[in-house]
Point group: D2
Chain length 328, copies 4
Amino acid sequence: MKKKVAIVGASGYTGRELLRLLAQHPFLQATAVMTARAGTQPEPPAFPNDPVIAAYDEQALRTVDGVFLCTPHGAASEIAKAALAAGRKVVDLSADFRLRSPERYAAVYGAPHPAPELLTEAIYGLTEHARAAVTAARLVANPGCYPTSVLLPLLPLLQAGLLDPHAPIVSDSKSGTSGAGKNPSERTHFGNVHENFCAYGIGNHRHQPEICQQAGTERVVFVPHLLPTFRGILSTLYLTPATGTTAERMRSCLQERYGHEAFVQVYAKGAPELRCVQMSNQCHIAVHACGPVAVVVSVLDNLLKGASGQALQNMNLMLGLPEGAGLS
Amino acid sequence: MKKKVAIVGASGYTGRELLRLLAQHPFLQATAVMTARAGTQPEPPAFPNDPVIAAYDEQALRTVDGVFLCTPHGAASEIAKAALAAGRKVVDLSADFRLRSPERYAAVYGAPHPAPELLTEAIYGLTEHARAAVTAARLVANPGCYPTSVLLPLLPLLQAGLLDPHAPIVSDSKSGTSGAGKNPSERTHFGNVHENFCAYGIGNHRHQPEICQQAGTERVVFVPHLLPTFRGILSTLYLTPATGTTAERMRSCLQERYGHEAFVQVYAKGAPELRCVQMSNQCHIAVHACGPVAVVVSVLDNLLKGASGQALQNMNLMLGLPEGAGLS
Amino acid sequence: MKKKVAIVGASGYTGRELLRLLAQHPFLQATAVMTARAGTQPEPPAFPNDPVIAAYDEQALRTVDGVFLCTPHGAASEIAKAALAAGRKVVDLSADFRLRSPERYAAVYGAPHPAPELLTEAIYGLTEHARAAVTAARLVANPGCYPTSVLLPLLPLLQAGLLDPHAPIVSDSKSGTSGAGKNPSERTHFGNVHENFCAYGIGNHRHQPEICQQAGTERVVFVPHLLPTFRGILSTLYLTPATGTTAERMRSCLQERYGHEAFVQVYAKGAPELRCVQMSNQCHIAVHACGPVAVVVSVLDNLLKGASGQALQNMNLMLGLPEGAGLS
Amino acid sequence: MKKKVAIVGASGYTGRELLRLLAQHPFLQATAVMTARAGTQPEPPAFPNDPVIAAYDEQALRTVDGVFLCTPHGAASEIAKAALAAGRKVVDLSADFRLRSPERYAAVYGAPHPAPELLTEAIYGLTEHARAAVTAARLVANPGCYPTSVLLPLLPLLQAGLLDPHAPIVSDSKSGTSGAGKNPSERTHFGNVHENFCAYGIGNHRHQPEICQQAGTERVVFVPHLLPTFRGILSTLYLTPATGTTAERMRSCLQERYGHEAFVQVYAKGAPELRCVQMSNQCHIAVHACGPVAVVVSVLDNLLKGASGQALQNMNLMLGLPEGAGLS
């Protein structure tokens, strides 16, 4: 007997990715697949094998064990409240519960937080760094795609005191267009992406405060770029070692920290490329010396370890299942 | 009466780009279009409109006013010597004359320098920073594509003392595949580039010593990446301002320095993308504050301002022609 | 003294392409660059070098010699009437005047024709097949991109009686996404185009009746496909030779017909690819035998010979200028 | 206890695809993963998770139940003989056993057939049309990627007599570059594929005689094209119906023929795109009327239903396993 989950906001990229993963999951099945708003007439499938998506139905949340929220930020909070009230576990893939401070949320997202009473309870679900808390949680804020690619290599180095505490922590990050979602826009028009490349959100991207919060420092410099690819994030970090530390020692630190992790791999040599992790829940990391700094390259699939894959890791833990089920 | 130029190594991307530019040039024509080696049977053109390329013929160098060398590094020096001996002006697009020190050349390129006697004479042709010297030169070393994208924004800031003299100078640079040349390789196989992205040469790319030499500091951290595009370089620089300096002041510095330049443009707002400069000889630059650093975005077309376009700027000057002829 | 032209609907791809061509034109300049509707507040340029586009102003049409209409179909007719009334020459790049029958227009475009009185006067501007008429015309209907790629090889073969009069005339055509225009849509979302390919409009594409009309037969089978490229159309035609005819004879026919044309080239061997014609006003054609049929491959740049380039050819003729001015 | 298979020629795209499929297979495991030639020192894996490939070892063939040959044509025959002599089942993904006539093989592949004595025994493994024979076979010739995309829609229509017996059977086929294999070449250089498109092999592609043989007619006109994608084939067929037949009847014929097949799907409306089948073992088919012909669109993943997926279907049958094992 498989446990049951709902996907709310199933028509977007992260919802579809969850459906694909759940179709192979040994212990979970998606029994409620819905849009984010009641009364929204879902579009008929464009192709015969596309999933059928129902209009949002709050009652359906009572029929499942866990709920994935794949809605836009702002819309997730109300549904989360309803699901929690019904006693269901919730993994929210939107940004609603990632920032702990409602003031910061308001500043970053331009609106008052819709459910500030839940902020203290929500667990930031960077799974490898919050396993026990996620297992016990009712509500998990699934990390942003960029922050996951930055925090996985960064946190162990910070915790081990291997970084110069005064130097900037620079992450030059590049993402495929699926990070911008399924809705057509100027930004994702083929003619604007193909044979093009750009930086965007310099100094004001919403993932910068999220990274700062989790890293516990405001010295993070995060500049995202848009790649002419569909899937994948590659972050290149420029980190100044603490006095007496080397890139080799930083690599060893990460190898020790992640040596037993199934979904994080630290390279002994070479550097990972997007294709090493596309279609997998893996984050691959390399560390190399380059003059005065250590250069860290981190890659993941933004729709998997950067979104739906990590969400499933978290839901597995919350429902008492093996963490990697459905993710191999 | 147009002046005459030769292109040696005309079958590669930079040679073909020069042919394209010269076809529209009001004062220059390509009258000798050759491979890099005598006796090399050139391939017949693949398509009816492709240029016909002859085998290398040293005598042909005597029939022209200027010579463009589009050969691999190492092969350019001998041809340069022959052309100079015949009294011709030479612009070398290879790396042979970019590093002033023969020792450094040997360390970086893995072979003794083939013509060390010419190194003191060769002018590093970053045109906007060497106009007088280029105009008077017999031999110009055309800068590398990545170094041009880094040095154009960097040099004025260094010269004005606007950068923290102890902080790393980080350039995270991304290039289209045409930078890797016309010969098929694992690296440029469609299946390895498309829907992929990677960093390469971390800590050992040949353009890093070139940038360091011109910048006069070893604090440069240069990490190149391979984009799934054909044309274009975007460099994102992370620069720590000197005490009391701001990103705005750095932008003003660049605006003043390049305000009268035809081929460098500094944005008052926004940031340039690859498509802003593809197929042009322009370098576009933006400066923005991002936490503790200034983020500089610099874009150019690696085959034009990063290679053949700048080479033509230089040749125009050397032959007494208007610098921008054939480049509008 | 250059003559003056207006571009109405200048923000789309064909308008921008005209601006690019006119910037290099020896005898023409764009002095009125407008949107398609009065009162439409044009967007400010996204980048410093983007053209400034004014709101539509009918008075401005009186200040020019010729008018290019780059508006959507339906919107062009009213502006054409105003420009003609002011005594100006008009090249309409929309579909408004391509079909001679107002009934067929209504059936194909789903609305009554907005200016049926002009239909008899409008010249279908496939330049190489309508040179005299275009030269004398007040109003030219610029051919569709696909029809140009099909009709250039097809018409001489039909006129010479080299095709089986009972066999289907099949054109399997493939276009880059710029043919779908600048406005974002599901169809042109990067995630739907990249690493994808599809046929569309099977049996009901609007260019099929246009091709049938000009070919004088309803036996045309036209199936368009969407390529993951920006520019270019490649049409593969499958033509059954008339009894006793061969592919070689068909090739000779085309070589004779186009031997003196500047913008059409017939290959003696091999087959053209998109890159042979991108960024040029050329149409390249090859003919090869393949079992019972002759296979014709025809390529052009849909924004140039398939739109703005051919429009400029036509305008040049209408204003008494050399046909190829601004197009080399 | 899983059964064991060997993969010979495992470093290419089809070998790697088999490894990926077998990693999830419930009843099969790859226990011998080899290059195609003894003494060939296999390259070390480029990335930590890449498979380790051994040099060819004929003895290893005796340790397995089935052998997949992913070698170039010509090289497969000798290994097939050795494997058959050892009593093993063989699925050959090369072209060695696809043509029944050694004379035709010699004409098409330019060399005498290396094992003509096996030609009468080899079964052409278009699974849905050869299930019983494949189940009983020792040696299966796995069909070419293009032929699979053409024959699946074509054979039932021919067998039902729905096609005009005198009209050409046209297939305009388009493939991603993975069909050209893993070795770098001019043809697959990123700069030659990206933003490009071409027809190739017009009138002389090796898959044309293969299609003709299986279709039992020389009226096939097959023109392949190279898409700027990695995976996928889309074939557009232009078929003249027999007198009194319609596209609708042809569609019904295919729906009946494939209604119970797991890996072939016939659309009631719309048309499939590459993305409908990428990463799956599916072939999707649509039929629409277009003037005098029926247009059939057929798509598959050239590395799966067009190669390794169908090979696994066949091996499953040969080893007494459920046909779809490892392919869902």
